[in-house]
């Protein structure tokens, strides 16, 4: 691959590029933001990978403005992989290559894994304390990811959404913050929330339930 970029998409429009492997990738991704079209936006909206082996093929007419801009940079192949958080489509990971051709099975699997790992720094980004250096070193690795993908985490996320009147992405960030502050995994914090051991104030501070009283709302 000659470049990679990760973009957040909101309401069908690119909200900007967050993290890219170099100036070229950033520029390529900015095209989608500027032009309002491209495989990344489609991948994010549909929740499906969009794989383009050759942008210059005559029957490739999905993104005329984007393809024209790409041609000037010499990029022929684009692979866009969707990124989801708690079931919501939030963006896409874009891979760019100068040489045309399809993405092999192994590269696709690797790309999909990378798209999932992109979720972790993205969550930090929403809270505004991104540590890209740490993410690059792999400190935010698969164990935390596995802990986010669980029934109790989805349920706890729903509870936080109801309590604070926020969306699933924000709720997940608050769950992670709560887990982090208590040195728990997201799954462990979620269990405490689901079972009413941990409750949240409207000012979003957590407290331990006393005497096992049910959630008050």
């Amino acid at each position: 691959m000659d470049g990679a970029a990760f973009s957040v998409v909101r309401d069908g429009a690119s909200a900007g590029t967050f993290g890219s492997s170099g100036a070229l990738s950033r520029r390529l991704d900015d095209f989608q933001f500027t032009l309002g079209e491209g495989p990344c936006l489609d991948a994010a909206q549909q929740g499906q990978p969009v794989l383009v082996a050759d942008l210059t093929r005559s029957d490739e007419d999905r993104w005329p403005a984007f393809a024209r801009a790409m041609a000037e940079t010499g990029v022929r192949a684009v692979f866009a992989l969707p990124v989801t958080v708690a079931g919501s489509r939030v963006g896409a990971l874009d891979l760019f290559r100068h040489a045309p051709g399809t993405l092999g099975e192994r590269s696709l699997a690797g790309g999909l894994l990378a798209a999932r790992l992109a979720v972790l720094p993205l969550l930090d980004l929403i809270t505004g304390d991104t540590d890209w250096a740490a993410a690059a070193e792999g400190r935010a690795g698969p164990p935390e990811l596995a802990s986010l993908e669980r029934v109790e985490v989805y349920q706890a996320t729903g509870m936080i959404m109801a309590r604070l009147d926020v969306g699933p992405e924000d709720a997940l960030v608050r769950l992670r913050a709560c887990a982090f502050a208590r040195k728990l995994t997201a799954s462990e914090a979620a269990w405490k929330i689901v079972e009413g051991e941990l409750q949240m104030d409207v000012d979003s501070s957590w407290y331990l339930a006393d005497g096992g009283t049910g959630p008050s709302s």
Binding site: A146, E149, V151, G158, M159, A162
Partner: protein
């Protein structure tokens, strides 16, 4: 048994909700095969197993199925494509230390895992947990396997799901539906001061009585298009006739 298949056939003809259908199927399975819990695990694109339906919506039971993401008969069944039958889990600590301990603690000793197949690929597994020692009879196993096949057909409902991409898309949609359902359970539990099990019952009651898809109602609750209070109040009114949990 015939009723179970009739209900299934009807739902396949009409427009149906995958998560609701599979929840019903696992409940029928548990009942017909006289096991204490049944759950369907579906693999995502990376081969990670997710709970997509279960005969009991208790979070702790869902967790037991989910645990087999790391080890257990369902994971083995998914990898080999072969059924796994365990008469007594207490003798299988060496095979699956974490899973065996958790299952026995939850009161289950016998476990079966049946593969859900589509042509040459394994989509996931049907897990059957029992509180009594012993394996199921061949007849029961065949019936369970038939139900697992039907679940595969229900999941990959598009007639022309010829290519792997289309199949993946449908499996992914089922998994996302499950995520939204869990969020809606949490949402209603929080608003109504209920446990998630009761929250699910109210959600389902509302969906059935309004002839709406479970997934659709769950999504509407989470997106606030449908006020949570309306679902809670509606079902609470009906619920009063039944004893409180």
């Amino acid at each position: 048994m015939i009723q179970a298949f009739v209900a299934l056939a009807n739902s396949l003809v009409d427009q149906f909700d995958v998560v609701d259908l599979l929840d019903g199927l696992t409940a029928d399975c548990a009942h017909l095969l006289e096991v204490d819990a049944a759950g369907l695990l579906l693999a995502d694109r990376r081969g990670v197993l997710h709970v997509v339906a279960a005969s009991s919506e208790r979070t702790r039971n869902l967790e037991l199925f989910q645990l087999q993401r790391e080890q257990g008969p369902c994971l083995d069944c998914y990898h080999t494509g072969q059924a796994v039958a365990v008469a007594d889990l207490r003798e299988e600590h060496g095979r699956w230390p974490r899973f065996a301990t958790a299952a026995v603690d939850a009161g289950f000793v016998a476990v079966h895992a049946l593969p859900m197949r589509l042509r040459d690929s394994v989509l996931g597994t049907l897990g059957l947990f029992s509180a009594r020692v012993g394996v199921l009879s061949d007849d029961d196993l065949n019936l369970g396997q038939a139900l697992a096949h039907v679940a595969s057909v229900a999941l990959v409902h598009q007639r022309a799901a010829a290519d792997r991409g289309a199949v993946n898309e449908q499996l992914q949609a089922a998994l996302v539906s499950r995520v939204v359902l869990e969020q809606a359970k949490g949402f209603l539990a929080q608003r109504g001061g209920l446990d998630t099990d009761e929250a699910f019952r109210r959600l389902r009651r509302y969906a059935r009585d309004h002839n709406a898809r479970l997934t659709h109602v769950a999504r509407s609750v989470v997106s606030r298009e449908l006020p949570a209070q309306r679902v809670l109040d509606y079902s609470a009114a009906r619920h009063r006739r039944v004893a409180e949990p």
